[in-house]
Symmetry: C2
Subunit: 271 residues, 2 copies
């Protein structure tokens, strides 16, 4: 019985560790699968973050510019927290992009060696301004209830978790673009040479895949956002966030911005 328990634990632990977008490009086929697995796993993270942010009401004082800081309280908290994480080497990982990349302190730790797989001129693309904008100005008011419960620090920490999860997902577009380019350079090179943004966008758009992602995210919001009790049947119909809103987040912002990252990356791919 003890042996069986240990075996189950070992199996569980082996299945647990996340795959990164940052692939080993020795084998392209494996890598595209790895990136897809990572994007799917990141959906769970994003849905968890949304559910946790929705615990708090809007707490609008966080977003006003009247605290005597430069900017709002949420800007202060995000900027300062990013600075600490920079010291711990967060932005040495090419999958991570800061919201306030100016004046980030240098890492205090010996940085990990990440494989260099991205084209240098694409590596610096940072889509965090539009992410910040849609998250606070368009999405958040749809996600949370009005009100002020005073939990500003916890709410801002929760906003930061959402922003970082969305940013990581959207910037994985660089890896998607790199792998797609390596898989079929003959397809991508002509529109890159003529800098045809629309043609590239068409090459990167798969309606059926996008529909599947929307549906899966909606299902995840339903599964992870349900109230679990010992007696209920799974999926009792009462959710902590609106599952359709999670799907809309992907439809209106996450997938379009990911493709924009891909296009921007490809436009610089032959520099």
């Amino acid at each position: 019985m003890l042996f069986l328990g240990l075996f189950v634990l070992i199996l569980a632990k082996e299945a647990m560790v996340d795959v990164n977008c940052n692939p080993d490009l020795a084998s392209n086929k494996l890598s595209l699968d790895e990136i897809r697995d990572s994007l799917i796993r990141q959906e769970d993270t994003i849905v968890f973050c949304l559910i946790e942010r929705a615990k708090f009401p809007l707490n609008p004082k966080l977003y006003h510019r009247n605290h005597g800081f430069t900017g709002s309280l949420v800007e202060f908290i995000v900027r300062e927290t990013e600075a600490i994480q920079a010291k711990a080497g967060r932005y040495e990982n090419p999958e991570e992009n800061a919201f306030f990349p100016e004046h980030l302190p240098r890492p205090l730790v010996h940085p990990h060696k990440y494989p260099k797989v991205l084209h240098p001129s694409g590596a610096s693309i940072n889509m965090n301004k539009p992410i910040w904008d849609f998250y606070f100005n368009k999405f958040l008011p749809l996600l949370v209830a009005d009100g002020d419960d005073g939990n500003y620090a916890a709410t801002a920490a929760s906003d930061l978790a959402c922003l970082q999860a969305l940013s990581r997902r959207i910037h994985c577009g660089k890896y998607v673009a790199e792998v797609k380019f390596r898989d079929a350079p003959h397809e991508y090179e002509p529109p890159i040479r003529s800098q045809e943004r629309d043609s590239l966008m068409k090459l990167l758009t798969f309606e059926a895949v996008e529909e599947m992602v929307r549906k899966r995210v909606e299902k995840k919001a339903r599964v992870f956002g349900q109230e679990v009790t010992l007696n209920n049947t799974i999926d009792g119909g009462k959710y902590k966030i609106d599952p359709l809103l999670a799907a809309r987040l992907y439809d209106e912002w996450v997938m379009p911005l990911t493709k924009e990252v891909e296009v921007e990356y490809l436009l610089r791919r032959l520099e």
Copy 2:
């Protein structure tokens, strides 16, 4: 159709906002229900945090004392992040307890008015040292796989989220104790006057309730930790964390430490 959508959204938003432990004690009966609802909701947060921490391997460099900091890298990140959150008023909320409460900066924002419901001498109980100890030294090695993927900052942020969620849950014991005391002072006063720790512990222990909590947490780990695909039946049997380990976390550490908070609180309740 649009109207229906809006109606569903409004319903979802009303159901969303979290209840706090910190109750309005005008009505004791309501408050005990509120605290129970909050503890149940916090189980979801804790399970989400565990699942997110388990994305990363152990990353043992975070916990070594050889970076030239005072203490380990994770200590540095937790201490510095707490300082930022203190500036945003996190520790003005009597439900929140810092892991490094010494030298916390004062809030830069006008603090929210939290209802004063706790007895002053119990309010200062801080169980974070044993929480830190069991989390890093006993629980974490069971939760995550061995290995180093270099994501130290993200891993430490994830550790902090786990620690804060566990700390908040365990310190809710103060509110539980306060409400229980107000409900039946005649039962609690004699063992408090004679400072009988064991009698208090007995009064606070309900085996059947604890068994229900363990089972519910295990079920939550199974529901929230499953791999959700469009085709699978719910609960495919493959989990991101071991559901039994989540139950064990509650059994061995969360519930005993919550009761220890309750006992410590009650021992000071008549001061």
